[in-house]
Symmetry: C2
């Protein structure tokens, strides 16, 4: 294959991969396709034994890292970039260059592959997965890499996205004298009850896929529904992180009543096929022309269980009154805004 | 047990049950605790054979329904209330009465238990679950119940919430001469790609729990992450419903690369424990006092993968510049807003 074609294929594959990648990532900027990609220099640091917060160790402890640009003579242009969840340093090319997030013409960028991203940082780990490490552990190992391996005593900045931003916050607090600037992007210094609900749900869903026979579906179903039923704002406000275990128990107990999974699935399948315009080739306008009743259409603006867009459109097509509930209760706005809802409905019914 | 205590216990149990119930529901208004509850009159209609859109039948076809209030002499005060997803008519008490959503002092309210809600409408169904029924099927069966069983030829209104609102939209189009008023609340006339992603994910999560041994976790993981990675607005706009199957295939293929579930879980567990304030008893202010670096903190306002609240608070506590990305790309705002992000970060790094 001609080299240009190989290169194009590789670029496209990387672009495709980045775009759909594991999430949490930035994905790729599509204009990066036209951008000459810098793969940096990849190395692996052998750190021997890495002690973890929980008292166990990863040994041998290998950390893959990748550098872009050049270290200046006084060593004052180092920018550390810890990776996002599931991210590998090999996916960074689209963010590198003048005018991009990481300007390798000015800065010497060090990107580190964390444990658990499938990179060489994982090589010697047992099949069963890593011992429980923390964001603090990732930062401590990175600190060892920077000081013991690269003999650096100072960073111009730490810039991180998502899980990388969690690490950036940790750097700010754990090593306050090491980095002059810290830029956490779409990350957090502390987990919220909403984040806990999210990752608890995802872990349970993966667990269920790996080994389940007649498991209790509520274990996954309940947290998954509550993840979307109200807004994240509502969850964060109503449930402090320390109350998360009792919140989780309450929703599991609440859902574990007299519902059979097959029943639930039958209704979900009905919802999945729902389209009043199906006899009209999906044309909502044609369906709307059939309507003779007077309609009052109520939607919840922040609803993640039932999207309001088609209902809004139907209100427009039928010239119906549209009421938008604006609470942060999401799909349960009908409960939080029960008084306004009852008033609107009763006025309408009495006309 | 004294009757009042029994009654209180039953009321509390029902209230608790309603509040945490299966979701999609309104839950209960807590002020309804003080509200004398009307359980209505429950009956079951024997409809013989109910043909479904897909050509199969439910036979015998029994529909449970519950009435509240009194039919007036000219039969002009009937309000139909089709139930929400997973809802039973026995859960309606808190919405009934003068000043509530359904005013049983004025209207004769007929609430119908749909197939698949665990009520007597399910009694004779096989253990394996229902044949594939549609929202249209639920409406057609309800129409038979109203006309054949109750000999009604007209409805004052149809009022429905969530899956009940889907049925209300269907009533408006399928039987345009039957109801004078239609009130769909938090429902939709058409499924969107976001709704499809949601219910596809939930069904897969339940399926995985029921029967999985070394299943491919990406089958659940990928749709679950994409449910939250961008905003629903973004998904609805970018993916027309007819493109949903190819969208789903693309994200599954994209995620099914070189990630091991154990690796993913190790990083999620690290995220779940993240708290820079842990050494300070969870006190973010104390943690913030440790910071010496200058910080630029970037959050995405509509981020459902990483809640911005703690990062905003940390910006306040450290008097750092806070940049809020406002696109509808959710956690991927860092990609959609890549130019602004790069500009902000590079100005900050160059100071």
């Amino acid at each position: 294959m001609p080299l240009t074609l190989v290169s194009l294929t590789v670029t496209m594959k990387r672009v495709m991969k980045q775009h759909f990648l594991l999430a949490m990532s930035l994905g790729v900027s599509w204009n990066a396709i036209a951008h000459a990609q810098d793969l940096g220099n990849f190395r692996v640091a052998e750190l021997g034994r890495c002690m973890l917060e929980n008292g166990t160790a990863i040994d041998p402890c290998r950390m893959g890292f990748r550098t872009f640009g050049r270290l200046n003579t006084d060593g004052t242009n180092v920018v550390l970039f810890p990776m996002w969840f599931g991210g590998k340093t090999s996916e960074l090319a689209s963010k590198i260059g003048a005018g991009y997030l990481l300007d390798s013409t000015k800065y010497y960028i060090i990107a580190i592959d964390p444990f658990g991203n499938g990179s060489p940082s994982n090589t010697k780990t047992p099949q069963g997965g890593f011992p429980l490490f923390t964001i603090g552990d990732l930062v401590r190992v990175a600190y060892r890499l920077l000081t013991e391996e690269l003999h650096l005593s100072r960073l111009h900045a730490v810039v991180g996205i998502s899980m990388g931003a969690m690490q950036a916050f940790q750097w700010a607090v754990s090593y306050p004298d090491f980095a002059e600037r810290i830029v956490p992007i779409a990350g957090s210094p502390q987990v919220t009850s909403y984040d806990m609900l999210l990752w608890e749900t995802v872990i349970r869903a993966i667990d269920a896929s790996q080994e389940c026979r007649s498991c209790d579906p509520v274990r996954v179903f309940a947290p998954l529904i509550y993840l979307l039923l109200q807004t994240p704002e509502y969850r964060v406000r109503e449930t402090p992180p320390e109350q998360f275990p009792s919140f989780l128990k309450t929703i599991l107990d609440g859902e574990r009543q007299d519902y059979r999974p097959e029943d639930l699935k039958s209704q979900m399948r009905a919802k999945l096929k729902h389209d009043v315009a199906r006899p009209f080739g999906g044309n909502l306008e044609a369906a709307a022309k059939r309507v003779k009743a007077s309609m009052l259409i109520v939607v919840a603006a922040g609803d993640h269980i039932q999207r309001p867009e088609p209902a809004r459109e139907f209100a427009r097509l039928t010239a119906s009154r549209l009421v938008e509930l604006q609470s942060d209760c999401g799909h349960l706005s009908t409960d939080c805004d029960a008084k306004r809802l009852a008033a609107e409905v009763n006025i309408f019914l009495g006309r």
